[in-house]
Amino acid sequence: MAQTITIDPVTRLEGHGRITLKTNDAGEVSEACFSVTQVRGFEKFCEGRPYYEMPALMARICGICPVSHLIASAKACEAIMSVNIPPTAAKLRRALNLAQTIQSHALSFFYLASPDLLLGMDADPAGRNIFGVAKAHPELGRAGVGLRRFGQHMIELLGRKRIHPGWVVPGGVTEPLDATKRDEILALIPEAFANATMALAAYKQIAIRFQDEVESFANFPSLFLGMVSDGGRLELTDAKLRMIDAEGLVLVDNLDAAQFDQYIGEAVEPYSYMKFPYLKSLGYPRGTYRVGPLARLNIASHTGTPLADAELNEFKKLAKGPVLGSFHYHHARLIEILHGVEVIEQIFSDTGILDKHVRATAGVNRQEGAGIAEAPRGTLMHHYKVDENGLMKWANLVIATGQNNHAMNKGVLQVAQRYVKSDKLTEGMLNRVEAVIRTFDPCLSCSTHAFGQTPLVVELLAPDGTTLDEIRRS
């Protein structure tokens, strides 16, 4: 008998989503869809505002990755202004973006994902959270909280606020770095290194216990998109985009922000408010792709920092070509944390970082501009059109999580087919369906957030709507 199973809301991720599974007459899961049930609207309500307000306004899209929105938005504004920002401003923004990546990745791995990994997918959900991790594995709990504190404190030092700092503006940053702040940041580096390396070592041991999940968590061929510097170095702030296929063949290279919409289209599905970006030349859905830490490490040949390079070499041995299993997002995230700490140390060890020239000024010199940056969750693109006075006429945003939308849906189906037995639902079974989504670390809301063990009702319904089984989480 065909049935429908709904997981609503999906827990321990940013925002509100729902998973619907449909079974066929044989009781096997035949369809799955991951629906994002909230609407944003920033593209619309920014219309009529001055373009230079956009970084501060657009940063309000997200409380976790406001820095990425600040940077992508400022770059779009700088395209409108036709300016290049001072080199020191570029370095400071790069450091800020890495600080945000570290704190966001720490949140994703330690606060949201590690309860499943350390306590077990089938553990009592009442204790399957960061508090449970702190009690059972205090050393990893300290590392996670410490890395998040490091990233957030650095953002606060540079941008004056942990969330929604206003330091990044069109043309650069509002004020130069002073030596006191630089020294404070450098003093935090050793502890951050210790936490990052310890977490990586621990993760490798943990992952051994999850081979079944490694094989079945959104593990399939796909395209990958990410930023990479000349020469193939991992870069999250200032470089161009590259897209590769599942064999590692480069399909698109040196793609800049202005070309983004020539190559990338956006499809919609009736069951979700989140768009489905795809490579236009391959069409939808064949041209859908993955972004984020896994994509970036698949695309980059090296990181340019010694400790992360050693880890990347090991990571690349997981597969002959690109690493396809989304469970490895967790691993990639930890490598990026290590890389971020190394780059931050390099940036702040350079005496030139105290240079006072950190902002370029100009007016409206073009009526269209686009900017890209790598957010923690993947490539982020802001595209604006303004009138001759610089007032916003139109905006389009391609958010990282949306670019993983098709892969998340496909992953949910794969995991559901592997684990869900429709004759009897268990919490652990459904937690795995949620956990595959968590590997992508999606941010569904971008401006509102809900995570943790929020109330959850999972119902198993017969085609006539009769409830066959139900699980409640309060």
Binding site: Y111, F131, A134, G141, R142, V145, G146, R148, H449
Partner: protein
Amino acid sequence: MIDTHTPHSTNQPRRALLFACGNTFRGDDGVGWRIGCAAEQQLRRADLTVVMTRQLLPEHAQAISAADIVIFVDCSAVTAAGTVSTIPIQPAERLPHTLTHHLDPGSLLRLAHDLHARTPEHAVAITVGGESFEVTDRLSTTVKAAIPKALEAVRCALCAALVPGTVSQTC
């Protein structure tokens, strides 16, 4: 009840931590920040660190574990407007099942214990009953008038914890 306090060595300077909590754009909810500022400017204690924050977060656990006294200053939406209350805080027996984006003081003390195996000897919440939480950066007259009394409560808590035997008649 969990046993969480490990005293520092007697020759170490004692340390106080004050969390000034609230949102200065939501009327009386900003009273915690006003009291935090006043404590920093008027008490002028080298052993006191004031942290202005909108929320209590897991990232605060480390600093708490290193303090001898922690004071949480916040607005109360429950007590009568302008009422100053001093409430002893114990580490929570159980942590919440849900972590959204903030913690209550008891849960934060418990997390400090679980992560760092130490909590402060003294922990109190000093609250001021709020009257209006509308979108404004101004306090109501009633709550504004309660700030000196709340500051005195902070001073008394610090004296009692850091310099035993020096509590004044006013405390």
